[in-house]
Amino acid sequence: MEKAQLLRYIAKRALIYVITMLVAFSVLFFFLRLIPGDPVSRFVRDIEVRYSYRIENTQEIIDAYKERFGLNGDLLTQYISYMRRVFLEFDFGPSFLNFPTPAQNLIWRRLPWSIGFLGVATLMAWVIGIAAGTLVGWKRGTKLDSALFSLALCMSQIPYYLVALLLVLVFAYVLGTFPPRWAFSPTVTPGLNLEFIASVLKHATLPALSLILVQVPSWVISTRALTISILGEDYLLYAQAKGVKKVRLLNRYVLRNILLPQLTGLAMSLGFVMNGFFLIEWIFSYPGIGTLLVQAIPVLDYNTIQGIALISIFTVLSANLIIDVLYPLVDPRIRTGG
């Protein structure tokens, strides 16, 4: 592809990226504000109850808090000031959950736990799924194929939170092999010691396993489909006729053509995993952003909810953009298209 053409392509993708992000975020903002509920008055009432203290000039205090939370003025003013704060100052605003800690601090504190177990589990599921899918596709029409493929089809129908619930039921309550909740045992001291790491791994096993069990089947199904379609291509027949060895055929001709589209899928799912699977965290009381989200909703903590949603929208779209930009550089077929 010509350089100018490539630049135009990248510019177009970047523009779509920015527009989609703005639209998605605006829809999210207005939808959340449409929900009836007055979190500030509730927040002030909670303070009164907690400290058994009668606030005299309630209205003024409510107004002052509204100012802090960016909830004063009409919707449009709120929207503009919020967007300015988030996109120019990278500040999500104070949280209700843990006032006056800013929402972003609350989120950053939980994020490593989520990225840790969600990221690792998604990657593991991807590797296992691609390997199994290629194998099954390669052996298409055999008993192994039909057995594994039917298993994958059935498994892919089970909702992720049910898988998590059943795993808790079997491994935590019936067998007692793994702990049912939290990220590490209360008896160990957090830090870089073996005991802590072992405890973290043990606690992450069940949440990660439920994520892997949910994701592997869909990777197997899509990889098998790709493999079978590649096996039907003329160039593969030609290579076979030339006498290219099986291992080389599988590595150079099949796997290479599978990896590219499946990498796109991986980028997509790394983004979606955040908002798709946060109930798994809640089921295991895992201290990630999923659990934080479930805690933020009952108090209608706008800044925290929006912050988490923004991060998840940002991840999905950025992953897409990166793939869109890298694709023509890697795949010669797209280079001419633009």
């Binding site: 989609t20 929900i35 939170y161 019936v174 989200l293 909703i297």
Partner: protein, 301 residues
Amino acid sequence: MSQTFKKGTFLSRLRSEFLTVLKSSPVFRVGFVLLIIVFFLAIFEPAINDFRLDGHPSTKFGVYEKLLPFSAEHPFGTDHFGRDTLAIQITGLKFSLMIGLTAGGMATLIAVFMAVVAGFVGGKVDAILNAMTNAVLVIPTLPILIAMAAYMRMNLWLISLTLAIFSWPWAARTIRAQILSLKEMGYVELAEMTGLNKFEIMFTEILPNLIPFIGVGFSMATIGAILAETGLRVIGLGPAELPSLGMLLNWAMTFGVMAQGYHILVIGPAAFLVLIFISFNLVNTGVEEIFNPRLKKITGI
């Protein structure tokens, strides 16, 4: 796509298309039988429960002794509220399906409207609607649903509408792609040449051929809605007067019956949910195989 071009009235076409799929796809046959079982249980839920419980409503507390073991009278025992477990789970299935179908229907209406307008007007309108679709697609929907369910008094229509607002984009994309490819078909060009206007072409030539895809979109949206609804109910939100399977799971979890060993209270609703998902999905796969030959080549079933 040869199966899709059939002559005759709308209904007879629909029937012959259905028979084609039924004859040629074993996946569809299995799914269809399971779907009949699901619908049978849901539709005849009042009769079945009346017969089994001597007229006691399945949701009434304390009719029987609490947490009875399995017996002939109570095949799944009773729960911690003193209700027949099997009966309340069939009731749950009914409500899950009811909410799912209502939401799925609403979502399909939105999707068809968006896709038809985008696919037919084209140009800038298409670009704008497409951007909307893609934006809604990346919004994390469950958090918004949870927030709405937590703050609004939900009934069947409101919860279905809320679910529908976020489950239309996938169906809209599929249907739009199909309209774009149908527009290029020879017979649409022919119809244009004979002087039919866009509107007539849409309703006489294109919409009938979209039916299988609208059907697939509907059942996908229904599954999506049930999935999201169950997610809401598992964490304890949503209308209490519609005890769906998700709500049963929430009851089981919050009362800690899992830790006490009454596993059927979790496994039962889970099994019914999986039955719903598998039946809808198999029917979908079957229909797609027939009407999307490229897919058939790829899945190779």
